[in-house]
């Protein structure tokens, strides 16, 4: 075997080995995913938090505070705020959901059932069909609220397991540069500058996107809370826990197109179940208020704070939200769009890098060394 064939053979072997390792890696990831799902979700949340909090830490560091102390201060403030809000909101929410479940099983649904039965009897002359429809509706309503109650109870245990997230977040912020250097040091010279450039660009855009979305959600949450508070003042408090519902609307706003509708549902449901004397007008005001908040968000807030690089088609949003829900439930639905945004930005940057960097001319060197071995043995 001459040197040329030998080099070619060893190159082929190396490539096959790499392909084998990649396939093995993918297979392992698929097999281990169900077991590693929870840890993966924790890491994703911690990473998103680290991206969100890094600018604050950087700011404190620029004021001559040591990075470790800066992270601790920021995290203690954030954790205190979160713990305070949750201690105020969660027990009340669980109580409300349980009370609503009981209420649904009794008077409100019965009243509605009578009305629906009367409607079907009058229009279709079929009382049995009407009874079937109302029974089904009752069943759906109760199971929906039961699952809602379960969700909030799960949030409690979820939060308990979330003790670990701040720890991961701390180290992700503190040692992010070290991690990046360690990863980039493994990249071959040929792709080094390209990878470093893409990594920084993706990091920059993703950071801006996540920070923008959070500010946007916060503003929508505050505006919705103020709106619900004003409705409460005007119509003798038909919506309890308006602060929680307002903030939930802000959180739901993270999911484009779907979020604003989802955000309005809890307020409408609670108002219906409370059945105030002027229910129709209250419902109209709730809808008008949410439309107004969306108009302010779309016209003033969003264009200023949310990066346009992650714009997605409505169909894409719906598909990824469904997939996210299938994989990781409510949390999956919430993070599906930001994660898809991150993938989109990464792909955009990789395409940009591959167009801009002359990788072909580097690989030409390899060809030269393989095709022209010393002493002209190949010839």
């Amino acid at each position: 075997m001459d040197k040329y064939t030998y080099e070619l053979y060893s190159q082929l072997l190396k490539t096959s080995w790499k392909v084998f390792l990649i396939i093995l890696g993918i297979a392992l990831a698929v097999i281990l995913f169900p077991y590693a799902k929870d840890i993966l979700i924790m890491f994703i949340i911690a990473w998103l938090l680290s991206v969100l909090l890094s600018p604050l830490v950087d700011y404190l560091e620029s004021k001559r505070l040591r990075r470790g102390w800066a992270i601790l201060i920021v995290m203690i403030i954030i954790l205190a705020l979160v713990a305070f809000s949750f201690s105020l909101i969660i027990p009340g929410i669980i109580r409300t959901v349980e009370a609503l479940t009981t209420k649904l099983q009794s008077d409100v649904i019965n009243e509605l059932s009578v009305k629906i039965e009367a409607f079907f009897e009058k229009n279709f002359n079929n009382a049995e069909l009407a009874r079937n429809v109302t029974a089904k509706l009752n069943e759906i309503g109760v199971s929906l609220l039961n699952s809602l109650g379960e969700f909030f109870k799960n949030v409690g245990s979820f939060l308990a397991s979330m003790v670990i997230v701040p720890v991961i977040t701390f180290f992700l912020i503190k040692d992010s540069r070290r991690f990046k250097r360690a990863i980039i040091s493994q990249v071959p010279n040929k792709y080094f500058e390209l990878s470093l450039n893409i990594l920084h660009k993706v990091e920059n855009q993703v950071g801006k996107y996540i920070q923008g979305q959070t500010i946007d959600a916060l503003i929508v949450g505050i505006l919705s809370t103020i709106g619900l508070f004003l409705i409460n003042v005007a119509f003798e408090w038909p919506i309890q826990y308006f602060f929680f519902i307002g903030m939930l609307a802000g959180l739901a706003n993270l999911i484009p197109y779907v979020g604003p509708v989802v955000g309005a549902i809890p307020a409408l449901t609670i108002a219906i179940l409370n059945n105030p004397p002027n229910l129709g007008i209250v419902l109209i005001w709730i809808v008008v208020m949410f439309i107004l908040v969306q108009a302010i968000d779309n016209a003033l807030v969003s264009p200023l704070v949310v990066s346009k690089s992650v714009n997605m088609h409505p169909l894409t949003v719906i598909v990824v939200v469904i997939i996210g829900g299938k994989i990781a439930g409510a949390i999956g639905m919430l993070f599906a769009v930001p994660l898809t945004g991150i993938i989109k930005v990464t792909l955009q940057q990789v395409t940009w890098g591959l167009k801009k960097y002359s990788l072909h001319s580097i690989s030409r060197l390899k060809e030269e060394t393989i095709l022209k071995p010393k002493g002209g043995e190949a010839a």
Partner: protein, 174 residues
């Protein structure tokens, strides 16, 4: 060869870091920094090794930052045609190149290729911007030194241009 059990890897690492700091101190843009500031810079630089004839940067690629040669030598050249190149300089240990890329992403004006197996330190724009954001005082020191280096280079270019123009006018008149 050092005994792996009794050899003190901690001090050896310290020695290596000291070497890097000394080398960084020789680079004009870091020459005004104190040891503590230099070790901050040391935390964000990337160390790379290149084999003989391996390209370090390619002409036309987006500029990302500068390289300082720790060991070996590097050839700076421009590509004239498909297979033609014009060698501009050969740099050795302690020399640096690509510093203009610390300011913007303009395409590289020349290629750099390792003439022998060599080791370099890379200092890149995104890390520099991050340093400016986190440690403004240190960042401004580096930025000011970079401006001085570029200013010095511009002055030299002006002088050369004037000399060339003088020669040209002498030829025209004489």
């Amino acid at each position: 060869m050092e005994n792996p059990i009794w050899g003190n890897s901690i001090f050896r690492k310290k020695k290596k870091e000291d070497d890097i700091l000394t080398l960084l101190k020789q680079v004009p843009i870091f020459s005004d920094l104190n040891p503590r500031e230099l070790s901050e810079v040391e935390k964000i630089v990337h160390r790379r090794t290149y084999k003989k004839k391996e390209p370090i940067i390619k002409m036309g690629d987006p500029g990302l930052g500068m390289y300082i040669i720790v060991k070996g030598s590097v050839e700076i050249s421009t590509e004239e045609g498909k297979d033609e190149k014009n060698v501009l300089a050969q740099l050795t240990e302690g020399s640096f190149f690509g510093d203009l890329a610390l300011l913007d992403e303009s395409p590289r004006s020349a290629s750099a290729t390792a003439l022998e197996d060599c080791s370099v330190i890379g200092f890149f724009r995104p890390d520099f911007l991050d340093l400016l954001n986190r440690k403004p005082k240190l960042g401004i020191k580096v930025l000011f030194a970079l401006a001085k280096t570029i200013g010095e280079r511009l002055r030299r270019t002006d002088e050369l241009l004037m000399q060339t123009q003088e020669k040209k006018s002498k030829i025209h008149h004489g």
